[in-house]
Amino acid sequence: MDYDPMVMDDAEALGPVVKISQADSVRVKYELSNSDIAFANSLRRVMLAEIPTIAIDLVEIEENSSVLADEFIAHRLGLIPLNAEGVENLLYARECDCDGCCEHCSVKLMLHAKCTGDENMHVFARDLVPVGERVNQVLGTPVFSDAEGLGPLILKLRPGQEVKLECIAKKGIAKEHAKWAPSAAIGFEYDPHNKLRHIDLWYETDAKAEWPPSEYASWEEPPQEGEPFDYDAVPNRFYFNVESAGSLPPDTIVSEGIKVLQQKLAGLIHELAEGEGDGMNGDYNGPRSPEYGTGADGFGGYTTPFGNGGNQSSWGGAGGTTPYGTTPYGAGQSNWS
């Protein structure tokens, strides 16, 4: 309740300010101002490494007569982005009561392709078909962001070759393996004019002439000619560029990152308050996490403005059923092989 924002100076009391300069289904660019580098960087680190998503973690290969080795294919499958909408309702496999995996902690996907034509066949993520019970209807479905709705190319088959395999996708975070990273990249920049001299630019004759100005150079006042160096200056405006890898929409990556960080901090508050007994941490006693607290602000939920459009391909129905049978992609694509 008494979140007095602990006045440090007048500006700080206002708290962080956000200005979005671009937002679509692939990326969100925003400026975080009136903030501190530690605050901004922790958010960046969490968005990179600690947001739960879902990725293929186990592959059982029944048949593989392609030119690629089993483990090579398994690695490629792991890196295919799967829709992570609703992953908060999935358990971590290591915390599930089942032995191995079940519908509460995993999604099963099948891939079966045989090249029956006389031209090389391409096997895409689209041919990866979720089977069995799922937490919801989209969780674990491969993400297609290309115009054809095929998804990434997994492998190619010569006439007569065949792959048949079963994948188990599990929940995880990128600290365990990068395949669980929701973000493809996170741009992070501050002080575009290098007034703080945190960067020592390499140059041949003149750094100013040789280095292109930052995209944000016009957002900040350029240094005056002969301006003395301000030893007390600290960065307080940060430019983020959050690019999604497909499993979560970019704005969800930001809000989930904030949530994960809040949960970390609340966990500490809770542990520190334990055994204190007095009312010092009254509002944090009990098994309550800020997950629920923030929900009241319309912030805990998973729905995002892009939830329906951006993440989910409109392909599903159009291409019809791909009952992990042979995929007729041999024809018309031979320019690839």
């Binding site: 671009q22 679509d24 970390k264």
Partner: protein, 138 residues
Amino acid sequence: MNAPDRFELFVLAEGEKKITEKVVSGMSNCSDFILLKEDHTLGNLLSAYLKMAPHVMMAAYKIGHPNVPEVLLRVQTDGSITPREALVTVCKQLVAMYGQLGREFQKELALRQYADQGEHAGGAGGAPGGGPSGQNGF
């Protein structure tokens, strides 16, 4: 073969506590906090904000070895509050600040969506291959 499971980087082992306080005997009003299965994300954040907090004389953190997911956070106060109280206050402040960041972000996003809708007159949001490229920057 004998490699530890990777999730041991962030999952507490049986019986481990996330944070433990150890009073530093040689210094007044000073405690070390040992955070298990954490890294610079919390270490740097907490030490930076403790340094700014009132009644805190000194705050610093270290990660003894890059392969060992343990953070040592040392906090010394002026005696009017305990290091533990200082840390709890800073954590609460940060939860509130990140909460505000989230609300600001959602507010800005809603504003943009509203503006975009006006522009594209209800255009399909998120067609395969890019969606509406909100290029109307500043």
